[in-house]
């Protein structure tokens, strides 16, 4: 089946098998390997992407269902000319990662939280992160990073 997807801001057309998973299309066909596979059963969130600005787990989505939509992966998060998206910078500054494997999914989820719940407090951020597992950090610095990143995104918008 033919799909048309705006992938990280670029219009892409491709023929895909009907059963191809979105994560496989992103990783294997488009070779965007920042989207990781941690559990292949929609539990860990390492494969989280933004679909029309909303975070989804790309291992539970078919590539064909991306047709007509805009997909953002970790590689396309920073706007043109920007080194880092404010959320990426916040993860770096707050030591929001150790091994880095869950990190792209965490950041994509964090961007969603910042967009849809810009005023979230610590407890709410923690609840909103329930779908993403980190095995290294014990979450504390991730929560701090999401909080700081959301503030930076707000500040950037208000400018």
């Amino acid at each position: 089946m033919k799909i048309s997807v705006t992938l990280n801001g670029v219009a892409v057309q491709e023929d895909v098998e009907p059963h191809l998973l979105a994560v496989a299309w992103i990783r294997e066909r488009r070779r965007l390997t920042g989207t990781h596979i941690g559990c292949d059963t929609t539990q860990c969130g390492a494969c989280t992407i933004l679909l029309d600005g909303v975070s989804v787990k790309s291992c539970t989505l078919l590539a064909v269902s991306l047709d007509g939509h805009a997909v953002t992966t970790i590689e396309g998060l920073a706007a043109n000319g920007q080194d880092l998206h404010p959320m990426q910078a916040a993860f770096k500054e707050n030591h929001g990662l150790q091994c880095g494997f869950c990190t792209p999914g965490m950041i994509m989820r964090a961007v969603d939280i910042a967009i849809h719940r810009p005023e979230a407090d610590e407890a709410e951020i923690r609840r909103e992160l329930e779908g993403n597992i980190c095995r290294c950090t014990g979450y504390r610095n991730i929560v701090a990073a999401v909080f700081a990143g959301a503030q930076a995104m707000r500040a950037a918008r208000d400018k």
Partner: protein, 780 residues
């Protein structure tokens, strides 16, 4: 990109947050094929026959290997611990095979390897491999005895080892004379390490040279190379092991694994790169697991509550095979710290390792020390309750005061000093123990049970016990290489393997400070067995310690070389050339030169490699406290406050260390409250991996640790450091369980509450009723 450029890599956070960090499954090679392991659905069965003809004829299939095929090309992956280290005269033939031949011994045991053009074709063909199994009796619980069909003929009672340590005679004597004897029965169940990055491997074969390359995600490339070359019968030089970014490990990625050997054998056979990536389900079925102890322990005290003797008898569910370090992980790694820093007069430990039809256990964050600390600190709290002494007071009577001189623990472990009692004072103050009664009363007014608990821990860091077990008198070794670029950059290659700890930081700071160079010109790389002759890898919280001796050795050699060059230039004796913070000077003259300027003057001549042994370990120690609230209606536990006071020696990078504490404590809390490896029966169902879903704790369940650095600098290494990576995993389980025991002190059933203390277990304790005056009987 990585595929063309194999080699040691720096850890670059900038790449990790932008998707540019390359993990094994992100690497692709031209013409690569994909392998899938066919795994046993049965815990214990004889293989009558394997029919792979349909699979061989399936679309895209390049090769199918059975256990018998593999047995002609490879030996099992050998345990590196000689039998004397775990109390046997001769080694048992129980090493983990590359593929099972003749018999499968756990759910997930590999029976065939199917290689095809694509992953999908390999998966489909794997379904076509027909294995005729004859089911055998299965052993789920670790129980010894005469058996009709033991797991191993060489161990007719299923006993793998029976290991004794300490002084049983003196202990017996002290118990006989003791005013008080306190007993406890504790379960420390099996856990699945579950790094978020699954294990993965790519085998490459160069037909010209015959050389094999393994691209994988181990914690140490050299250890894995050794395990594989022995299994495959190759000289070390015929195999290169390379690791790109490593996505979490926690002990489970120390080892050479069957799939490593399979991708290499298959690559040689089909003449193409062969890849294998574990699914999460396969992580449950094949990654080494942790813990698996059931322990009877007792301590003897005199009438004043002074500790006399300690007796610890763990039964360890080791699984179906020896993984490479299994016998030492279950015995000699935990034993040195079993008595903590307490002033026992004698100790005796008796470990029995029992085969079961399960995945092998081996090192998991702490590897034996969390088990030992858990038993000790739960037992001390139990003693305090039975003797009606404040647990802080009881510990204070038996701990050395802070700032102690070096001393030897009851186990013989040399301890270079630590904060001990001072940790406890600081921790209880910081956790506001004084105000707890009021908080408990307030919680009670809301219908909640609130408890306060704390525990000490002691570490034995540096990997010395493992090295000494592998070879009598052996020491951990590490290697570092320095290369100076004409542009002023310095490349350091080292044999450790970071998975987020940032081992580069102390090394960079030391090189920069000692040689007077800019830290941002220094890049530290890890993960290539060809880049260094040896490497110790990461495990046992040793990387900072082992890298300290290796980098010092390498830097010392560089300085000696530069000194000789300057002596020649200035026409003076080398010993008159002084060196201080990056500057050489000639005694009695005004001539000076910066080391940084010599680099361009003598291109390539200063490059060097240093290899050194770690002679002294370290003993991180600390005291952690937590407060829990239990909802009696549901049994749910909420950790409302957690405090950690740690003596890690000198802290080099507080943010990184705090991250290690928080992450280690999170794992320990997971062990106390939730995690449990599924049973073989559960694993037969594909949904068993939903445990990954409900047992791994999420962001709302893990509190922020209030962490206090109480480090007493170590005198045994250039960094002044001890260690920090595994401390949280030792500290948290007894801390949390002591707090739960305190919250449930009115309920006699809480005495038998074990980890994981899940809501249903706690609810049962509460609903079986409280006691007006709790009976102070000792448990069996």
């Amino acid at each position: 990109a990585f595929a063309r450029n194999l080699g040691p890599l720096p850890r670059d956070v900038g790449k990790m947050i932008t998707g540019g960090a390359i993990y094994v499954d992100d690497v692709r090679f031209e013409g690569e094929a994909v392998g899938v392991v066919v795994r046993s659905p049965h815990p214990h069965a004889r293989i009558r026959a394997i029919d792979a003809s349909a699979a061989r004829g399936a679309p895209g299939v390049l090769a199918v290997l059975s256990g018998e095929d593999v047995a002609r090309m490879a030996k099992p992956i050998a345990c590196v611990i000689p039998p004397a280290a775990y109390g046997r005269a001769e080694a048992l033939p129980v090493d983990r095979p590359v593929l099972a031949a003749g018999r499968v011994r756990h759910v997930g045991d590999g029976v065939a390897f199917v290689v095809a053009e694509t992953a999908e074709q390999a998966r489909e063909a794997a379904e076509l491999v027909k294995v005729d199994y004859e089911l055998l009796p299965e052993y789920v619980e670790p129980r010894a005895g005469a058996l009709g069909m033991p797991i191993w003929d060489a161990a007719p009672d299923n006993v793998a080892f029976d290991w004794q340590f300490g002084n049983p005679a003196l202990c017996r004597d002290l118990f006989n004379r003791a005013a008080h004897t306190v007993r406890i029965h504790l379960s420390i169940p099996r856990l699945i390490p579950n790094p978020i990055e699954p294990r993965a491997a790519i085998g490459l074969h160069d037909p010209q040279s015959g050389k094999l390359t393994l691209v994988s995600n181990p914690q140490g490339v050299h250890f894995v190379r050794g395990g594989l070359t022995r299994a495959l019968g190759l000289p070390d030089g015929e195999l290169r092991v390379v690791s790109p970014y490593l996505g979490g490990a926690f002990g489970s990625k120390i080892y050479a694994y069957p799939e490593h050997a399979l991708v290499l054998l298959a690559a040689r056979m089909v003449g193409r790169p062969v890849r294998w990536t574990a699914t999460r389900r396969e992580a449950f079925l094949s990654d080494t697991q942790g813990r698996g102890h059931t322990t009877e322990a007792a301590m003897a005290l005199d009438e004043d509550g002074r500790f006399l003797a300690l007796s610890v008898h763990p039964t360890v569910d080791i699984g179906a095979y020896f993984s490479q370090l299994t016998p030492i992980t279950a015995t000699g790694v935990g034993a040195p710290i079993q008595g903590g820093a307490y002033s026992f007069q004698a100790i005796e430990i008796h470990v029995r390792g029992i085969f079961t039809n399960k995945v092998p256990v081996d090192a998991y964050r702490g590897a034996g020390r969390p088990e030992a600390n858990y038993v000790l600190e739960r037992l001390v709290d139990r003693a305090a309750a039975e003797l009606r002494i404040d647990p802080a007071e009881l510990r204070a009577r038996n701990l050395p005061d802070s700032q102690t001189a070096p001393f030897t623990a009851v186990t013989g472990l040399p301890i270079g000093g630590g904060r001990f009692l001072d940790n406890q004072r600081l921790c209880l103050e910081r956790a506001d123990r004084a105000g707890f009664a009021q908080r408990r009363a307030e919680a009670a007014s809301r219908g909640r049970l609130r408890g306060f608990g704390f525990a000490h821990y002691l570490e034995a860091n540096g990997g010395l016990q493992v090295a000494a077990a592998i070879a009598p008198g052996g020491l951990p070794h590490e290697c570092a290489a320095l290369k100076f670029g004409a542009d002023g950059t310095v490349a350091v290659t080292i044999g450790t393997q970071s998975s987020g700890q940032d081992h580069a930081r102390p090394v960079t700071l030391y090189v920069a400070e000692t040689l007077g160079l800019a830290a941002d010109e220094i890049t530290v790389r890890e993960g290539d067995s060809d880049a260094l002759p040896i490497g110790g890898g990461t495990g046992g919280s040793k990387s900072t310690l082992t890298s300290s001796v290796a980098i010092k050795q390498a830097v010392d050699i560089v300085i000696a070389k530069a000194r000789a060059l300057m002596a020649q230039t200035w026409n003076v004796q080398p010993e008159t050339v002084q060196f201080d913070r990056g500057v050489f000077s000639a005694a009695g003259s005004l001539r000076t030169v910066r080391f940084a300027d010599l680099v361009s003057r003598y291109p390539g001549q200063l490059d060097n490699e240093g290899e050194a042994a770690l002679h002294y370990g370290s003993s991180a120690n600390g005291c952690h406290a937590c407060e829990v609230e239990i909802d009696p209606e549901t049994g749910a536990v909420e950790i409302v406050r957690y405090t950690g006071v740690d003596d890690f020696g000198r802290v080099i990078d507080a943010a990184n260390v705090q991250g290690q504490v928080q992450g280690g404590v999170a794992m320990g809390i997971g062990q106390a409250l939730a995690e449990l490896a599924p049973t073989p029966e559960a694993l037969q169902h594909p949904l068993a991996t939903s445990n990954f879903n409900h047992a791994l704790l999420r962001a709302p369940e893990i509190p922020a640790v209030d962490w206090v650095d109480n480090g007493l600098p170590s005198a045994t290494n250039i960094f002044g450091a001890k260690a920090c990576g595994e401390s949280g995993a030792s500290a948290a389980p007894p801390t949390v369980m002591n707090a739960i025991a305190d919250a449930l002190s009115a309920f006699p059933g809480a005495r038998e509450l074990q980890m994981p203390a899940r809501p249903e277990d706690i609810w049962k304790v509460i609903s079986s009723g409280g006691a007006e005056s709790s009976a102070r009987t000792t448990s069996a």
